[in-house]
Structure formats: structure tokens, C-alpha cells
């Protein structure tokens, strides 16, 4: 018994380690191709990336990645693929910011109300894809990609024509600033207490705490509840799930809507914690990077936390590459190679695990 556990542990570490190695080799080749030393590049990234200011930015980058990755993982676990997180979080954020500035509630309630709005909007938007899949057999991959385009156009249109705050005269179109009760407190005061010094332009989104809680809830619901079991069963064998009494159509619809609801929250860390409004500078691409975060983290709450942090670190620290004349986009190559090599490594390990178990079994049967 002990032997099995040891090999399981080794296997769990082997995959990411092998993947990291391969991706370092690939990234190094990319740097070499631009006639620079990969060693210098990594050294610069490490030195820049490990400053307090960079680490804070890393956390702020990772928080929305993580929330969006959880949203994607919900659908992956159900055997679906929600590529529409980008659009869902965008609409969630703009409606949350716009409507949230229209009323005043006590501090905590106000934030909760904005979150509920964002979840509702994101959920409804994703539910369109769920509905089309269940009723018309439209692939959710296709419909969510299309819904992304719609969401992008719709949010710009709404912002420019209806949601823009005309009382301020700024070039950056923006919704009205949220009242203080709708602003998520920053973690900086807490960090100050444990001896972290203020950084220029620094601050850590309060929603980091929320993201951690979300990860725990996600783990519990998926692994320890009937709903989670039925969702995973639908994902791993939809036919067997149906034979077991899972209403597969309802499960598809619910998984899409739930994923969209969580996705709706992924734009809020910046809106509630930093800009306090939705403006034209709203970050794009979170929903797409989060697909990679979910894949790398294997839809596992802990794994996704690590991969969100890793992506955050690479993104922030790679900005320093410009200092030594390397295109900062090199980090895209790093991201890509990490993702590709880890997906391959996991698959190899997965197959090896089945083989290993079969061998154990053969031994057990022979004995």
C-alpha cells in the first residue's frame, strides 16, 4: 500500500517538473533566436519579478485569472468548454459598475449586491449558449466565441451611449464612480501590519480573499456534493451519467449558467478594488489566459492557484525584458510552451498511471 502512495507522489511531481524543464528549453531557444542570452533574461525577470511591487502586481494579475479559471473549470469538469468567459466577465463588470453606482447600501451589502448583479448578467449571457446547446444542439464552443464578439461590441456601445458618466470631462469614457460602500477594501492596510511597506502604485485587491474562498467552495461542491458528482459524471461519461439518472440536458444548461455566473465576477477585482468604475482601460484577454490557467492547473483548485500565480509572475516580470532589449512578448512563448508541455506531460502520466495500476492489479490477482 505504502509503495503505491510513494509512486503516486513521484508521478504527481514528475509531470510538472518535466513540463517546466521542456518549457525552459523552448523559451531559451526563443531568446537565443533573438541573439540574447537566456540566462540574462531569466536573471532579469527574477530580479524584477521578486520585488515587493512586482509581487503585488502578480497577485493582482492572478486574482481575476483564478476566478475566471474556476469558471472555465466548472465547464471542463462537466465535459463542456466555455470559451465565452471573456465576454461574460466584461458584461458582468460593466453592468455591476453601472448599476452599482446607482444605489447606496451599507458597505458589505453593497459589494454583495454588485457581485449578484455581475453574476446574474454573466450567468444569463452564458445561459444563452447553454440554451442553444440543449435545445438546438449548437456547440457551446462556437456559440460562446460568437457571444464574446457580441459582448465586446455591446459593452462598448452601452458605455459610449448609455452608461458613460457625462458629469466628468475625461477622455477616458467611464461609468460613474462607485460610492465608497461599493468599493472593495484594499489589503494594503493589513499588509502594513505584518511589515510590508507601501509601494508606489501598489496595493493588493481585496478580492484576493474572495478568490481563495471561491476555490474552497469550488473544491467542496465539485468533490463532495451530489451536484458535483453528477456534474463530473456528465463530464467523464455522459452516457453512463444519463443511464444513472442524471438529467444531462439540465446539467449542461446549469453548468454553463453557473460557469457564466462565476465568470461574471472575474472583472470585479479591478472594478471594485482599483478603478471603482468600468472604463475603456478595462483589461482584455483575462478570459482567454484563464483557459490556459485552468488547463495548466488541471481544473484542480490548488493547481489553478499555482498556475494563476505563475502566469501572473511571468506577465509582470517579463516587462523587465525590455530593459535588456528583449521583446517582452517572449512571455507569451513561455506561457504557450509551459501549457503545451504540461498538457502532454499530464497525458503521459495519466496513461502511465493506468498501466501501473494494471500491473499492481495483475500482481494482486496472481497472488
Amino acid at each position: 500500500m505504502k509503495k503505491i502512495k510513494l509512486s503516486t507522489l513521484v508521478l504527481a511531481v514528475a509531470a510538472p517538473l518535466a513540463a517546466a524543464l521542456v518549457s525552459i528549453v523552448i523559451s531559451s531557444l526563443a531568446v537565443l533566436a533573438s541573439h540574447k542570452s537566456p540566462f540574462d533574461a531569466y536573471k532579469t525577470m527574477w530580479e524584477f519579478g521578486t520585488t515587493s511591487s512586482s509581487l503585488m502586481q502578480m497577485l493582482n494579475t492572478a486574482t481575476p485569472y483564478y476566478i475566471a479559471a474556476v469558471a472555465i473549470a466548472i465547464t471542463f469538469r462537466a465535459g463542456l468548454f466555455n470559451i465565452g468567459v471573456e465576454g461574460q466577465l466584461r458584461l458582468g463588470a460593466i453592468f455591476g459598475a453601472y448599476l452599482g453606482a446607482k444605489f447606496i447600501l451599507p458597505p458589505v451589502l453593497h459589494i454583495i449586491a454588485i457581485m449578484v448583479i455581475a453574476m446574474t448578467i454573466g450567468g444569463l449571457w452564458a445561459a444563452i449558449a447553454g440554451y442553444l446547446k440543449v435545445k438546438r444542439g449548437v456547440s457551446e464552443v462556437i456559440s460562446t466565441i460568437m457571444l464574446n464578439s457580441l459582448a465586446g461590441g455591446l459593452s462598448s456601445y452601452l458605455l459610449a451611449n448609455y452608461f458613460v458618466d457625462r458629469t466628468t470631462n475625461s477622455n477616458n469614457m467611464s461609468t460613474k464612480t462607485l460610492p465608497a460602500s461599493g468599493q472593495f477594501p484594499d489589503l494594503m492596510p493589513l499588509l502594513n501590519k505584518i511589515g510590508v511597506e507601501d509601494q508606489p502604485g501598489g496595493g493588493v485587491y481585496g478580492m484576493l480573499i474572495f478568490a481563495v474562498a471561491l476555490g474552497i467552495v469550488f473544491w467542496f461542491v465539485i468533490n463532495r456534493t451530489r451536484f458535483g458528482f453528477e456534474l463530473r459524471a456528465s463530464g467523464s461519461n455522459p452516457i453512463a451519467a444519463r443511464f444513472s439518472g442524471v438529467n444531462s440536458k439540465r446539467m449542461t444548461f446549469v453548468a454553463m449558467a453557473l460557469s457564466g455566473a462565476v465568470a461574471g465576477l472575474a472583472g470585479l477585482p479591478a472594478v471594485l478594488g482599483d478603478t471603482h468604475a468600468f472604463n475603456m482601460g478595462f483589461r482584455t484577454g483575462i478570459g482567454f489566459s484563464a483557459i490556459a490557467v485552468a488547463l495548466l492547473g488541471r481544473n484542480n483548485p490548488t493547481g489553478m492557484a499555482f498556475s494563476a500565480l505563475l502566469f501572473g509572475f511571468l506577465e509582470v516580470s517579463s516587462r523587465s525584458l525590455e530593459l535588456i532589449d528583449i521583446a517582452p512578448e517572449t512571455y507569451v512563448i513561455m506561457q504557450g510552451s509551459i501549457l503545451l508541455s504540461s498538457v502532454i506531460a499530464y497525458e503521459v502520466v495519466r496513461r502511465y498511471k493506468i498501466t501501473l495500476q494494471s500491473k499492481e492489479l495483475a500482481k494482486a490477482v496472481a497472488a
Binding site: I4, N223, R224, T225, R226, F227, G228, F229, E230, R232, A233, S236, N237, I239, A240, A241, R242, F243, S244, G245, V246, N247, R350, K353, I354, T355, L356, Q357, S358, K359, E360, L361, A362, A364, V365
Partner: protein
Amino acid sequence: MSVAVELRHISKRFPGVIANKDVSMSVETGTVHALVGENGAGKSTVMKILYGMQRPDSGEILVNGTAVHFKNPNDAIDASIGMVHQHFMLADNFTVLENVILGSEPRHGITIDFAAARAKVVEMAAQYGLEIDPDVLVEELGVGQRQRVEILKVLYRGARILIFDEPTAVLVPQEVDDLFNALKGLRAQGMAIIFISHKLDEVLRVADDVTVVRAGSTVAQVKSKDVTARQLAELMVGSELPQPSTHGDTRRPEVTLALKDVSIPTQSGSRDLISHVTFNLHAGEVVGIAGVEGNGQAELVEAIMGLREYTGVIEFSGSDMNHLSVAHRRDLGIGLIPEDRQRQAMMMESPLWENRILGHQRGKPVMNGFVLDKKSTIADTKAIMEEFDVRAPGPQTLAAALSGGNQQKFIVGREMSKAPLLLVASHPTRGVDVGAQGAIWEELRRAREKGMAIVLISADLEELIGMSDRLLVMLRGVMTAELDPAKTTPEQLGSAMTGAA
């Protein structure tokens, strides 16, 4: 006579599957050579090695006295070895002729020379006694005729050594007779035929020589005229065969399941998948549904379970359950052993304890309200594994790591564990070894005595006759006959199944 194929001390290791070790056999030209053994004994591995699908770790293969090393089936085909697969690989919307030449079409420039192909196929068919209309679409053919097309395909590619993988598994007795006549014709033409089967009566009817495989090794090669079925069975299992049978009448007055005029219309409006099916099933009764595969049995099961829309009424314990979902029907106490265990009853990459939950996720012992009770599930999984002799290290083992027979035992154990009032069992002993088969029958017998009603669907006619209190014959979706199993032989049942009687 000369030796067409010889295997010398072939060994092959595989994770999970019993490896072949020291397999030797020699097949002479102009003979039918049966390879027999229980499911999982290693017959398929021998066959795959001979057909180039697997490479042996050690040992030699000789074809017509020359050592060969096959890298893939194409090498085997070049060495004039052909295989007639158990599951046909035919294109339904092609004609017989097109199917036969598919992949090795005679060319005429860039077009296919259909005239030459037709001449060759017609000539071959006549020569080997495999007459068939070359221009009919395969989708219009019955199972036996499709098999004929498969055989022609193999012969067309020049095979002189033919491997038949469980060819009778899909056939009814009359079609088996036709096949055996064809085999005799091929033998007379100097072909060497390797006939893989675990049905001993058939083997003794058609084979000249028999090689017995047990636990991955060949344990004997005998002349079929020198042995009895019992001796072969003993060689195969090393013990006595269990018999499917039930004792006495345990039927109770209450009706557990009642179907009233149940039909499943097709969307295209052609003939119903099942049509006006009506029968009552009492508590403590086993009703066997006999029929050639694809005559509506699978659809009947799906209707009973609520997996498919139907017209008419299905009652459970006296109340209409037409509007109940699959989950509700299971909650009422209906267990299901589906026909395709890996597709319909398991999550292959999940551990056994999670597979224990599948289909039972709505209550004890696996759920505590809406929250999963992992500890109790694991304990219960262990109990099932012990009671049903599921051979695996423990509840954490992945389902994929188990052999088919052990997967089946686990599913039977899972469905029986909640003591259902009704069990819908499709091929409950398919693919399990003789010992496990006996254990599953015993379990069904005990449950029947306690009042469980069973709908039994099986391709094994002896199992159907032995276990059922009543037999219903299904042909093209219609219940065409009701038979008393005590007065029915497998041959009679087979006739009824094809509509010949």
C-alpha cells in the same frame, strides 16, 4: 498435409491482462483448427499476435515453414493471413461488391475497374459456396450475410489462412449452420481455418483439431474426434461448469412491472423500434427476452428505465411511471445492468469507489443528504468487492485497470447492493469467467426467491432458458411468441428468434 501456421513458444506480457506465456500451436492446411478458452484466457492475444496487431516478446511464428515477423496486419495479409472480425467492419451504404473491393480496388487508369472486380467476386463466391448478390446494399443484409461479405473481403485479398474471431457470437443457430457449411467448403479448397470460440458444442461440430488456452498458456492440442465437450470444458477451466437454472416457482401474486401497449415510434415514421409490447412481470419472476441483437431489446430497456420516449403505459408496482425521470425510476427500486458496461455503466478513469456512486447518487450509503459520504462509500465498495469477488487492489483502483469480467462483477454487485424490486439485466454474465458466471446466477436466484422481479436479456440462449420463468421472443420490435423455457430447446428458441418457426 503440410503445416500452414505454427506458433512456437510465444510469450507476450501486458499490464492488466493475463500475458501469453509459452503458447504453441500448429495448424495444418485443409483443416479447421479451433482455439478455445474462457473469456480472458488469452485467445485474443494469440490471435492479435498472429494477425500482426501485437508483437510477441519472444517465440516464433512460422507461415508455411518460414519464420515471419509481422509489424502490422498488412504484413500478415501479405503472408496470406486474413481475419474475419467479430464486429463487422462494413460500410452500410455501399454494395456488397464495393465493400469487398474497398481498399484494394482493381484500377483501370484512375477509375475502378468494376467489371473485373465483379467477375472476380462472383467467381470466388461460387467457388467457395458463398453465394450473395454483389449489387445489394449491405444495410439490407442480415447478420449472417454480412459475415459472408466479411469472408469474401478476406478471400479477395488472397488469404489462405483465415482467422475467425468468435464468428457465431452474433448468429442464430440456422445462420451458424450456414457458416459451418461455408467453413467446410473453404477447408475442402485447402484453406487453413483458425476458429476462435468458447462454445464447445460448436467447436466439436466443425473443428478437426482443438487447441485449449488456459490462463494465457496453451494447455493441450487434441483431435476433436478424441474428446468430449466435458473433457474440453475441464481442460478450459479445470473444474466443473456451473449450470444456469432456477428451482421451483417463486412467483408472487403482485405485479412488479406492467407494460401496456408500449411502442417507440421512429422519427422518420418508418417501422416502430418496438411495437405494442404488452406483458406483466410478477415479483419473484424472471422474464427472459429472447431475440437477435438489434430487434428492439435495447430500446425496451431504455423505455423501462425512462431513457427514451414511448407511447403506451409502463406501470411499476401498480402505479403509472410514464412521467417519471430515470432518477425517480431508480429511486423506486429499479436496478440496471446495461448491455455495454464501459459506455453505459462506468467512469473508466475514476476509482471504483466513485463508480460505486454512479446510479445511486441520490441516497444512502453514498450520500448524506446532498453531501457525499466518502468514508461510507469506500466501506461499501470494499464490501461489494469482497462479496462479488472483484479482483482489484482496493476501492481506489481505477475502473479502467480492471478486466472486463471484474468490471461486470462490480456492476452486478453495485446494482444488487440496494436490493432492487426490479432488476433490468442485459447480458449480466457477458465476458465473465465461468466461476463468476456461476456466482452471478446464484445471486440472481437468491434475489428472485426474495421476490425480486427480473427482466433478463441475453444472447446466451442457455442462460435465457435456464434462468427464465417465461420467455418472450422479440422480432423486429414485436413480441412474436411466448415460450415455456422448460419445454424449449436452444434450437427451437433460435428458430423463434429468426421468425423461422
